[in-house]
Symmetry: C2
Subunit: 107 residues, 2 copies
Amino acid sequence: MQRFGQVIGLHDETWDEYCKVHEGPGVRDLLAIANIRNFSIFLQRMPDGLLYEFAYFEYVGDDFVRDMEWLNAQPRHREWLQLCDPMQRPLPGAEGWTRMRPIYFNP
Amino acid sequence: MQRFGQVIGLHDETWDEYCKVHEGPGVRDLLAIANIRNFSIFLQRMPDGLLYEFAYFEYVGDDFVRDMEWLNAQPRHREWLQLCDPMQRPLPGAEGWTRMRPIYFNP
């Protein structure tokens, strides 16, 4: 099992809507098929005054690249990204989520 | 089971040492007794140019306050905090870790 942490910014003017769309089932079923478990999202306004979203998830498959390609090819997942992307603000220089550096895992 | 996400700043000049001390066993055994599972730490330099540490963990007990009181009373845990605290930089207005707002959990 691999643990991942990632971060992206969120626009202030749409973060209420962002929270609201995440109350629904979203694409949880597709994430599960792609071997993703325990996807957890947290919001935080950081000292720079901007909103950020932090995600933790676990990957339990044996080919992460192949599973992400499958996920990104699913029409419902593409629709989900089209819904969420405009509400997110990648870190400067990033195109989407920024993968964070893991330093400590307590089994 | 309750999921937690929290954030704190790290001083640039000691973050190598911070990573190094986390290579050892630390207080993992005490966290386990205090019903904490899956403690995962990630580092990220944010757009404000500063280093931050993001932690995800799960609490599987039935009295979080009591378990944290027990943990904080353990001499080895106090020594661990005395080691780590000077390397951490709480967010403005915070005294230690800042609990982040959860918005989405995928079972």
